[in-house]
């Protein structure tokens, strides 16, 4: 981008290569071309700004001019209620975050273990492989909300000796079981996307299948699936709200609690803002990583 900075040999085509070094100066044509490019850039910037303003303006105007806007505003955007409900929601939201932070590492371990179990080829590991298939089929099929209810209410009802009846614990287990199945599939897709020639090279070096997985396949697979994994992170962060269905005092439960006493649902909007505030940075991070992967895979394939 600094055309005048480079000092390069010039000279007529077909002249000798060792011609006198001479600073390159952009020609009149090139200068004109740069002016045109700048003008084109300015124009596309103007078009982008204009269309953005118009589209968002129309959307906003449509919303504000809807017949029920006044009541809607009172019911969902009341600043006083927002302020009053804030402390309880803040406390509840911390529970959501805690849940996410505990569940995510467990999910990653479980997911990877399941994916590896599914890739096992040794004959004696067949039952393990079948179990892994069964597991993903089952837990991916059951809606997470049902799993949360079934475990958080069901396990305590069994009155088992030495097993906790803590609903927080069982709701957490439900999230791990459900997301473990999803993440296992993500890892599996990553593992299967590693080219067979990589397996062949590892084999010819004399590595065992386990060693091949550990040192060749999984490192490549993990790198490739980071973006979709982060996508599941974002999703999990939101789904911690499901535990409100079993009476755990998370942010959503706190908001609903406040709302039913005060006949105002502004706290729900506050909770939504909390979740958005935490998922947007995660989403940007996902985009960034995805872009990096794309650039790396395109490198050398111009």
């Amino acid at each position: 981008m600094s055309p005048t900075a480079s000092l390069t040999p010039g000279g007529a085509a077909g002249g000798d290569a060792g011609g006198l070094p001479e600073a390159w100066q952009p020609s009149e044509r090139e200068l004109e071309r740069r002016r045109v490019r700048r003008a084109m850039h300015r124009r596309s910037l103007a078009v982008a700004t204009l269309t953005t303003v118009v589209v968002f303006g129309v959307l906003g105007a449509g919303l504000v001019s809807s017949p029920g806007w006044e009541t809607f505003q009172e019911y969902f955007f009341d600043p006083d209620h927002a302020r009053d409900s804030f402390p309880a929601i803040w406390a509840g939201f911390w529970l959501n975050v805690k849940m996410f932070l505990i569940a995510e590492p467990l999910i990653l371990v479980l997911g990877l273990a399941l994916a590896l179990a599914r890739q096992a080829r040794a004959a004696w590991l067949t039952p393990l492989r079948l179990l892994a298939v069964l597991y993903t089929d089952l837990f991916r099929g059951i809606p997470t909300i049902l799993l949360v209810v079934l475990l958080a209410f069901g396990v305590p009802a069994l009155q088992l000796q030495g097993v906790t009846n803590d609903r927080f614990f069982w709701a957490l287990v439900a999230l791990v079981l459900s997301y473990g199945a999803y993440v296992a599939e993500v890892f599996r897709a990553g593992i299967e996307s590693v080219h067979p020639s990589q397996l062949a090279s590892a084999e010819t070096l004399g590595l065992t299948r386990a060693q091949t997985m550990r040192h060749v396949v999984v490192p490549q697979a993990v790198r490739r699936v980071v973006p979709p994994l982060l996508n599941d992170f974002v999703s999990l962060q939101k789904d911690t709200a499901l535990v409100s269905t079993v009476g755990i005092f998370d942010a959503v439960f706190a908001a609903r609690d406040y709302g039913s006493y005060n006949f105002n649902d502004t706290p729900l909007v506050v909770v939504a803002l909390f979740f958005v505030a935490i998922t947007i940075p995660l989403a940007r991070l996902t985009d960034h990583l995805q872009k990096r992967v794309a650039e790396r895979e395109r490198a050398g394939a111009r």
């Binding site: 010039g10 085509a13 020609s27 090139e30």
Partner: protein
């Protein structure tokens, strides 16, 4: 600085003072080139000499940093140029074939004629099958590219580039990724195109092919056209020491 000397008045493609740099690294210096209709211009030179970049600049895949590229007397290096219109008149074949793996051979070939040039499916397919037949691929028309050998894939890529009847065909080392015994098939196809008067600009390492088929050979070294002329002159009496060196090396390697 830019050589404004007009070349052949009837030049289909006229390049003057073309410069391309990536940051501070200048990969093409002051390139002048004329291609008349029916010419076969071979770009030779070692890897990294700028052959591929030059072709990519001609096809507007790369933005040039200075100089002029004219197609039929129209400046196509102008930023306001409709690139798609230029490419509709210029075909390009890459080293790695770049066929679309999800489409059958005939669909690969008819995609541009149908979607870009508005040719009806029936007509496009008839032309595609005729071209495929000419290049010995008639029985592969409905196969998918991954069922074909490298040589067959590259011939399909040639047919795909030819289907929209381009005024000019750019070939970027199209035999470099092929097994030696498959190279002949593809070169044979290019040779027959040259013989019937297709205008070609090709980067190649196949010296005997360049000697036989080219009307004009350009030797590139360090991003410059160091020497250009008819093949018998370049191959038999090169003026530049660098050209001699290069030719000695590649010709003894091949022997």
């Amino acid at each position: 600085m830019t050589g404004e000397t007009t070349g052949g008045a009837s030049a289909l493609l006229r390049v003057r003072g073309l410069r391309k740099a990536y940051g501070d690294r200048v990969v093409l210096h002051d390139i002048d080139l004329d291609v008349a209709a029916g010419d076969v211009v071979c770009l030779i030179g070692s890897s990294g000499s700028g052959k591929s970049t030059l072709l990519r600049c001609l096809n507007l895949l790369e933005e040039v940093d200075d100089g002029l590229v004219e197609l039929d007397g129209v400046d196509i290096s102008d930023p306001r140029t409709d690139r798609r219109a230029v490419r509709a008149r210029m075909g390009m074949v890459f080293q790695a074939y770049n066929l679309f793996p999800h489409l059958s051979v005939v669909d690969n070939v008819t995609l541009a004629p149908r979607k870009v040039h508005g040719v009806g499916r029936g007509e496009a397919e008839a032309r595609a099958r005729e071209l495929l037949d000419r290049f010995g691929l008639a029985d592969k028309a409905d196969a998918h590219p991954d069922r074909l050998s490298g040589g067959q894939q590259q011939r399909v890529a040639l047919v795909r580039a030819l289907a929209p009847r381009p005024a000019l065909l750019l070939l970027d080392e199209i035999t470099a990724a092929l097994d030696p015994e498959l190279v002949g098939d593809v070169l044979g196809a290019v040779r027959s195109l040259a013989e019937e008067g297709t205008t070609l600009v090709l980067a190649t390492h196949e010296m005997s092919f360049a000697r036989d088929v080219a009307t004009n050979v350009c030797f590139l070294d360090g991003g410059r056209i160091l020497e250009q002329g008819p093949p018998e002159e370049i191959f038999s009496h090169p003026r530049e020491a660098r050209t001699r060196q290069f030719l000695e090396r590649v010709l003894t390697e091949r022997a």
